[in-house]
Structures are given as structure tokens and as C-alpha cells.
């Protein structure tokens, strides 16, 4: 399968009064066409920043981004506009991501207007109607305003807007976190159907592990701007190598009374990403932490084929023989 997006050593630092905030710190991955990469982590781990940096909604500090083999790290304004036909985003909050002063059809047709996709207004409206049908919005809602609709329908509007220019690649930033479970399932199904029908590639950002397992082919686990574990979704849920991933999965509340997790309770809370200390970012909360963890940052290592982990003690923790 062809690779559609490759990210190499991507970094995004923010200047804050307190110092440099390392939101995304040396992240690398690649996605094949038509696949879904799940990015998981807790609030403040830089997952949303990662998505926005790929789309050039934020400027990257360092690193390279390749889209369909082309280096898109530095692009001009007009190149960027072209690029955005192909790369889109769906936002988390269906309330603030839609302009309250525009009605449903105006919101969906805006990208068509920007790219002057249709010279004929009638044809454009037809395309809007088609898009509304694609995402399952009743045509009668065309003249409604977002505040008149519920969260699920609003999220459908956001999906339709992202689809308007037939993109190849969509960053989904927590698209179902603000929705109720029954609606969440509707939107997840919709997104999977669209992926199948249109051959879309997703980067799916979420904190919800059940959702990420459900939708992703590959999973990237982030902690404080760093990738701690990266593998196929199945392999990750089969066996977690990094102590943080272990704790994260153990913390899921499973809706099954027979299968209650032995919770691995993590000490403390996520520390600040501003001027991080040298060494492993997870060290202060890690039960296996030793002197080396506080001194040297671990590098990504392919521990079994296709399974990357960044941890000094990964072999010891998982009872594997040391090798180098």
C-alpha cells in the first residue's frame, strides 16, 4: 500500500512566560492510504497540537512532514491552499467549531466557494445537498442554524464541511468526545463508512481507548509530547510494553461486571511540559524508574517487529532477555 503521510522528528515548541513548552517533541510516524492512525494520550500530551501542526494550522518548530511523497514542511500560501483541499480536520467541539451566524448549507458550501468549485449556484447547492445526504443530514435542515441542532447533527455538519472538497486525508480531533454514547456510535459508524466509500485516511486523536481500538489500524501512544509506544492496534491491545501504556489500559473502566481490571494506579499526575527535565518524561510516575531514566531520554526501539517502544527497561519489565 502507498504511504500517504510521513512525519519525521516533528517538534512544536511554544514560547510561554514560564519557558519553552514542549508540546510535540520528536514525533515520527507514517500512515498508509486508507488506514487510520489512532493517537492516544491524556490531556496535555500534545496530541491535538500534533494534528494541527501536520495541517499547518500551527507552524512546526523542527522536523519534516511529507504528504504523498512531497515535502510540505515549508509551503507558500498558495501551495497551502491547494494542500488543504486534500487535508482536512474535524473538530472536537461541535458547538464552537461552527459559526453561529451561518446556517447549515452556508457552512457546508463555504469550502466550495473558497475554491470556486462551481460557477453555477444551482450546481453548488446540489453538491451541498449531496454532502448532507452523505453524512445523513435531513435536507430540511439546510436552513437551520447550528444552535438549533443537537451535538450529533452538528458533528455531521463538521464532517460534511471537511468532506466538501473530497480530501484524501482527515485529522479527527476527538470527534466523538463531546457526544453521548448512542450518538457517538452513530458518528463512529458514519466515519468508518465514509472511509470505506471514499478511501479516506484518518489520524484519529482521542483519549478514549475503547474508541481508538475500535477505529484504528495503528496506534501511537503519547505522553508529554513524546511517543512512548507505537504499533498496530491489535498488537498494542494484545500486549503493552511501556509501563505508561500498561497503566493507561488498566485504567479503562470496562462495562462488564465479570471482567473488572486490576487497576494499576499511577502515582501523581502528568508533570508540566514547560522546560521538561532531561531523561524519560514518564520517570516521575514510573514504578520501574532508575537513575538512567532521570538522565537519558529513551529512544524508540523496535522491540518486536512493528512494535516500537521508548523505555530503558522495556526488556526487564516484560521479562525478555537483554539484547543490543
Amino acid at each position: 500500500m502507498a504511504e500517504i503521510l510521513r512525519v519525521e522528528h516533528l517538534k512544536k515548541y511554544f514560547k510561554t512566560p514560564a519557558g519553552l513548552l514542549h508540546a510535540v517533541d520528536d514525533v515520527s510516524f507514517s500512515i498508509e492510504k486508507g488506514k487510520t492512525l489512532g493517537v492516544v494520550g491524556e490531556s496535555g500530551c500534545g496530541k491535538s497540537t500534533l494534528g494541527r501542526t501536520i495541517l499547518h494550522l500551527l507552524d512546526s518548530t523542527d522536523g519534516k512532514i511529507y504528504f504523498e511523497g512531497q515535502d510540505i514542511t515549508n509551503v507558500t500560501k498558495s501551495q497551502l491552499k491547494e494542500l488543504r483541499r486534500n487535508m482536512q480536520i474535524i473538530f472536537q467541539d461541535p458547538f464552537s467549531s461552527l459559526n453561529p451566524r451561518m446556517c447549515v448549507s452556508e457552512i457546508i458550501q463555504e469550502p466550495l466557494e473558497i475554491y470556486k468549485a462551481y460557477s453555477d449556484k444551482k450546481e453548488m447547492l446540489r453538491r451541498v445537498a449531496e454532502l448532507m445526504n452523505t453524512v445523513g443530514l435531513a435536507p430540511s435542515l439546510a436552513g437551520s442554524y447550528p444552535h438549533e441542532l443537537d451535538g450529533g447533527r452538528r458533528q455531521r455538519i463538521g464532517v460534511a464541511r471537511a468532506l466538501a472538497m473530497n480530501p484524501k486525508f482527515i485529522v479527527c480531533d476527538e470527534p466523538v468526545s463531546a457526544l453521548d454514547v448512542s450518538i457517538q456510535a452513530q458518528i463512529l459508524n458514519l466515519m468508518q463508512d465514509l472511509q470505506e466509500e471514499l478511501g479516506l485516511t484518518y489520524v484519529f486523536i482521542t483519549h478514549n481507548l475503547s474508541v481508538v481500538k475500535h477505529i484504528s489500524d495503528d496506534i501511537l501512544v503519547m505522553y508529554l509530547g513524546k511517543v512512548v509506544e507505537y504499533s498496530s492496534g491489535e498488537a498494542l491491545f494484545e500486549h503493552q510494553y511501556h509501563p505508561y501504556t500498561k497503566a493507561l489500559l488498566a485504567a479503562i473502566a470496562i462495562p462488564d461486571i465479570d471482567r473488572q481490571n486490576e487497576r494499576i494506579l499511577l502515582k501523581g499526575e502528568i508533570s508540566s511540559p514547560v522546560n521538561p527535565r532531561p531523561g524519560c518524561r514518564f520517570a516521575p510516575r514510573c514504578e520501574y524508574c532508575t537513575a538512567i531514566c532521570r538522565k537519558k531520554a529513551p529512544v524508540m526501539e523496535e522491540i518486536v517487529p512493528g512494535h516500537f517502544v521508548a523505555c530503558h527497561h522495556v526488556r526487564k519489565i516484560n521479562g525478555m532477555s537483554e539484547e543490543k
Binding site: 497551502l80 488543504r84 480536520i89 451561518m102 463555504e110 473558497i114 445526504n133 435536507p139 436552513g143 464541511r161
Partner: protein, 299 residues
């Protein structure tokens, strides 16, 4: 339910042009109509404006018709609001004065609002240095009491109707710039602005289509309330002799001219004062109602 059937009818694309949206101004007007207090304000305001427009037809006398023999006549059938020190009909002068006072109120506010909105929009959207320069300029303006500033400008430019409006509008700029800047800052951080960037919208499009319509409500409200302030300022300037020159009728200058006779003849200041008060009250009531009506999230 269309939501669930999307897979079954890929060709069932309906013509959606029939589902026209209801303009938000129509919706806002519907909400405003339900607010009796605001409508009362609007009605009073319209009566005052009509009074000014049809002053010639409504006023029994000209604004400059003097009858020195009948100076300080108490309100009677002939002179409903009495006469002033030169024997002019106060009722007629208030009608003619409405023209000038309301004109000053709306034009001065309009000029200030336009200038302030543009400055505030630049400050809010571009931020950093632009923001700093503009806002510090506004700080300087605001550091001087607005009336004092208006006096200084009016004194420098000389008295006269237009100069007075200019003086008042300059003093009003910081308020609008601040309001606009603040609302742009709140709107700018919302995800739909980011969404607009993501679909490749240009800066101009984002400002005009996404940010501005969402900042309009506070500006409109500020303007309605600002008109009242401008009328008061104009009245104050006229009161100290820097505004409209005699014999032009203007509410503030009528008040000013009458002040020395207030001990003996209450009606000389009472009615111009009441006219100013009624106008401002109606504008405030209407402005408050408008603010509520313009919020799209209210149902």
C-alpha cells in the same frame, strides 16, 4: 428519518434550495417584538425623530420667532411649554432642537463607532505590536476625561456643529475600539475560526464572514447606548458655549441659556431637560432589548 437511511438511497438528493434560511435579522426582530419595554423605547425614539423631521408642520412658531413682550410666559394653551427669556416658544424650539440634537447624537456616534471598530478590529485580529500601538493610543485618549477632551478639541477647532460632532466622536473612539477588540479576541479563539483556516479561507474572508458578524451585536448595542452619551456631551458642550451658536435651537444650549432663570421660571430648563432625558431613556431601553434579541443562542 433521513439520518438512518443514508446507505439506502445514495441518489435521493433533494433540492435544498427550498429550505431557505430565515434571516437572523428577522429572527432577532421577532424576539425584539416580544420585549415590550424595548418596543416602548423604540416607539418613543421614533416619535422624537418624527417630531424633528416634521418640526415645520408641528411647531406652532418658528424656532427664532421672538416676542419679547411675552417672555417667560408659563405653559398655557398658546405656548404648551411656555416661553423663554426672549419670548420664544419652548415647545417649537424643542421640536426644532430634536433635529440638531439627534443628528449630533447619531452622526457623532456613527463616526466614533466606525473609527473605533476599524482600529479595534486591527488590534484584535493582528495582535502583538499592532495591538499595542492602537491600544496605547486609546489609553491616552481615555486618560483624558471625555468631556475635557471634547472641550479641548472643540476649542482648538472652533465652535460649530461639525467640529462639535468631531470632538465628541474622537472622545468615543476608545470605547468602541475596546469593545470590538475584546469581542474579536473571544471569537478569534473559537474553533470555527480555525476551521475556516483549515478550509483555506483568506484573512479578509475570515474577518468579514466569520469574525465580524459575531462581533456585531456588542457594537450595535454600544452604538445605541453611545448615542445617548453623545447627546449628553453635545448638550454639555453647548451648555458651556462651545457647541451650536445662537439662535439655533439645540437642547443643551437651551438648557444652558435657561439656567440663569431657573429660580423664577422652572419651565425654561424643565422641558429641554425632559427632552434629553426621554431620548436617552428610550435609547437605553431599546439598546438593552436589542442586546438580548441579537444573541443567536437565546431561544
Amino acid at each position: 428519518m433521513a439520518e438512518e437511511t443514508r446507505k439506502n438511497n445514495p441518489n435521493a438528493v433533494e433540492d435544498i434550495s427550498m429550505y431557505k434560511k430565515q434571516s437572523q435579522f428577522v429572527q432577532a426582530w421577532d424576539r425584539l417584538r416580544k420585549n415590550k419595554v424595548a418596543i416602548a423605547g423604540l416607539v418613543i425614539l421614533v416619535i422624537l425623530i418624527l417630531g424633528g423631521i416634521f418640526a415645520e408642520q408641528l411647531a406652532p412658531y418658528g424656532y427664532d420667532d421672538q416676542d419679547v413682550m411675552r417672555r417667560f410666559t408659563a405653559p398655557c394653551r398658546e405656548f404648551p411649554f411656555g416661553t423663554d427669556n426672549l419670548g420664544r416658544c419652548i415647545y417649537s424650539r424643542i421640536l426644532y432642537g430634536a433635529r440638531i440634537s439627534l443628528l449630533i447624537g447619531f452622526v457623532a456616534t456613527g463616526m466614533g463607532a466606525v473609527a473605533g471598530t476599524i482600529l479595534g478590529a486591527f488590534a484584535g485580529y493582528y495582535g502583538s505590536k499592532t495591538d499595542n500601538i492602537i491600544m496605547r493610543f486609546c489609553d491616552v485618549l481615555q486618560a483624558i476625561p471625555s468631556l475635557l477632551l471634547a472641550i479641548a478639541i472643540a476649542a482648538a477647532l472652533g465652535s460649530g456643529l461639525f467640529n462639535m460632532m468631531l470632538a465628541i466622536s474622537i472622545g468615543a473612539i476608545p470605547r468602541y475600539a475596546r469593545t470590538v477588540r475584546a469581542s474579536i479576541l473571544t471569537v478569534k479563539d473559537q474553533e470555527f475560526i480555525e476551521a475556516a483556516h483549515a478550509i483555506g479561507a483568506s484573512d479578509a474572508r475570515i474577518i468579514l464572514k466569520h469574525i465580524f458578524p459575531n462581533c456585531l451585536a456588542p457594537i450595535i448595542v454600544q452604538v445605541t447606548l453611545g448615542v445617548a452619551g453623545s447627546i449628553i456631551n453635545a448638550a454639555s458642550l453647548s451648555f458651556i458655549g462651545l457647541g451650536v451658536q445662537a439662535p439655533t435651537a439645540e437642547w443643551g444650549s437651551m438648557l444652558s441659556a435657561g439656567r440663569q432663570y431657573v429660580r423664577d421660571y422652572w419651565f425654561v430648563v424643565m422641558f429641554p431637560g425632559l427632552a434629553i432625558m426621554t431620548t436617552i431613556l428610550s435609547l437605553n431601553l431599546f439598546g438593552d432589548g436589542l442586546r438580548d434579541a441579537l444573541d443567536p443562542k437565546l431561544k
